[in-house]
Symmetry: C4
Subunit: 237 residues, 4 copies
């Protein structure tokens, strides 16, 4: 019996039952995420709120059953409970039960903890495992270049503050607002909420962009190439 | 006779006649697309509308003749009719004939079906064939990473909703509007219609950008590299 | 005598005199470009206009002397006159002389012809020669994918027109304004002058961005990689 | 004694003492940078300003001690003083001492000289050393293509000025404002403060983007690939 449930909960086991359970749980996760998203819409009707609560209730019950069964079939129960997936499974249902106990004030942050459900999907997605591998392979290089990127962004922020603060005291009010400009500009997002207007600031932006785009692209590039490597090695073509 | 028409309609046959027919049909497709685009201009004169209708009429007649001939020369007629190009050829002319029958209300969507003409061009462009090959080679990887991309965009949307909803209830009114922000930001388009203003939201944006740019670039990168491979293999240099 | 001038005008000849002449002409080109740029500033003082005209006058005289000498030293004079550099050298000075003859109305466009001077710099820059080589190597591939890019941009424009025209008749007034949106979005520039606001238009934008970024990047990528190849082959390291 | 201090100041020496000193100085640099950033916030309380001055005072004292010790332990004292790090160490403390002597007017620029402190971090970061190597390896190519990039940006600015000046005399008032547009557009930042509105200007932007994105990406790409090379060679995997 215990062995049967164990196989049913193992998505890598190629039996029809195991696959159905995996698909069912994934569908449930997606359903609860969609319900969560709809809940944030303003001006929901009474009726919609009622049905969203029903969906949430059903999802929590089913996730709880899954959690209990996973503990039941685990060989080392404590090890599972404190593993990444054990904690994620718990956090996915905890907010619901806590909401009966805790003061209403702190409920807002609690509601968002429910979203740890999304990490339950990691169990079923090989790409995310590749991603974790890639990060751990290139950890040292990523850290080194994140550091260079952060320094460059800081220097860009100080430079633009020097040039623009006098002309636009509202937009470039401190180095912290200038940091926001530096991030938005060097990633080429460019919202347009804040931009240099003085000649000095614009020439500075030009040089920072010519150098900076190359540097900011490096951590991103390292992650991409590490991922491509792990993908090439492990996926059959 | 049937053999002659078949060769004339085959653009890969290196005779002068076949080439002329191919060029003529391509020109006709472009003409009808330009006419379609001009039709959408507001405040067209009576005269212009008249000539656009004439062009449309002529194009449809010629496309119909082409379609009939293609069925005529096909060895397996039903197979051609239900092939990709058979359906595209039909959809390119169908709206015109349906407009005599169907109620005027549904005409707007019908008008756009005419645009399936653009896919008639696929017949003549080797690059698009390479593109289809590339997609089918890398299908599994693209799906895996599209899934990761969608999850990342969802998490970014939830995060920014958490930080910005209180400060900007109009812009970040729900997770759905936040999703729009996440898409526009992580692709670095950055329209500037919606952006974080709280310190928490900005710091969150910074981290999401550092990680996210690398991930969102992956499906795009896979398509690009698959395309480059098929190009290198099949095009003479 | 003729041989001496020929060597002086040949920037690849490693004598001190030839180098000085090359540097002098490059300096003159830059000076005349800067003068041209300053001329476009509104509200120039009488005095500035006077000095800008003096600089322009001196530059034209010296470019004319250069042009005459280059014809004088050319072995096949007609071939030089109708070569790329011969035409560029002529266009650099022609507007000045024509301004004595032609009606004032057409002067504006004439003024900009002076800018062909910038192409005189090509003579002295090896990178630009690499660029020309790269383009000619990858010509066929660039054309194929430019075509795909243009089709994709067109489809994106039609799609967004379909979704947004009713909601924003001023911004997405026709397929031509939608084309502008498609260009600005798929290159990720994202000015923010025009963007979708309907749910349908935003979902459509999401899918177009996921696919489109990969495709629009291809012609750009082909140019870059072709350049890198020619650079690697021809520059000593 | 002198030998002991020398080892303590050498962060590559693997003793516990040397590591502690290195960490302490890095922490001090970060602390003084954070203090500097907070100082730029408007509306600081009297109390905060007092504590920021205390932090600055302590940092300068400690940096001065470090500077004196570094001169003391250097074998060739003059060579150290005029080396990159010698000058950076001096500039990090000079503004503080100069502020007792110099007129208050020039203090603003002086305050920013303090930021040379950030370069003190270079001593401790291998990635920055890789960066310097990469630049010096690819120096010639970077210069060649920076030149091409600058010419392209100039041509884009002149072109858009020609098309847009009449329609938007405020935004495209001269070639210098058009240069700003060209920089912001070709790096795909796209703030949206200035963009073409005429049909001619938009078509021109389309072609400049198709060609330009490839070219502007080259110096950036050269820096990235040179960095990747130096990283691959020197970091253990």
């Amino acid at each position: 019996m215990k062995q049967k449930i164990k196989l049913l909960l193992d998505d890598t086991y190629p039996a029809k039952g195991s696959r159905s359970v995996a698909f069912f749980i994934q569908g449930l996760i997606l359903l609860s995420l969609v319900a969560f998203s709809i809940e944030t819409l303003p001006d929901l009707s009474e009726n919609s709120i009622y049905w969203l609560q029903v969906i949430e209730f059903v999802c929590v019950i089913l996730f709880t059953i899954e959690y209990v069964f996973r503990i039941y079939v685990a060989d080392k129960k404590l090890k599972f409970i404190f593993s990444f997936f054990g904690i994620v499974d718990l956090l996915a249902i905890l907010p619901f039960y806590l909401s009966f106990v805790v003061d209403l004030r702190s409920l807002r942050t609690l509601r968002f903890v429910r979203l740890f459900r999304v990490f339950k999907l990691v169990r079923y997605n090989r790409a995310i495992k590749h991603f974790t591998n890639a990060i751990s392979i290139a950890k040292e290089e990523i850290l080194l270049f994140l550091f260079v990127t952060v320094i460059l962004i800081y220097l860009a922020a100080v430079g633009i503050y020097y040039f623009e603060n006098a002309a636009q005291p509202n937009h470039f009010s401190s180095i912290f607002s200038s940091l926001w400009w530096a991030i938005v500009t060097l990633t080429t997002v460019g919202y347009g909420d804040i931009y240099p207007i003085t000649a000095g600031g614009r020439v500075f932006t030009f040089f920072i962009l010519l150098i900076g785009l190359g540097i900011v692209a490096i951590p991103t590039g390292i992650i991409s190439s590490a991922l491509t490597k792990t993908i090439d090695e492990k996926l059959p073509k």
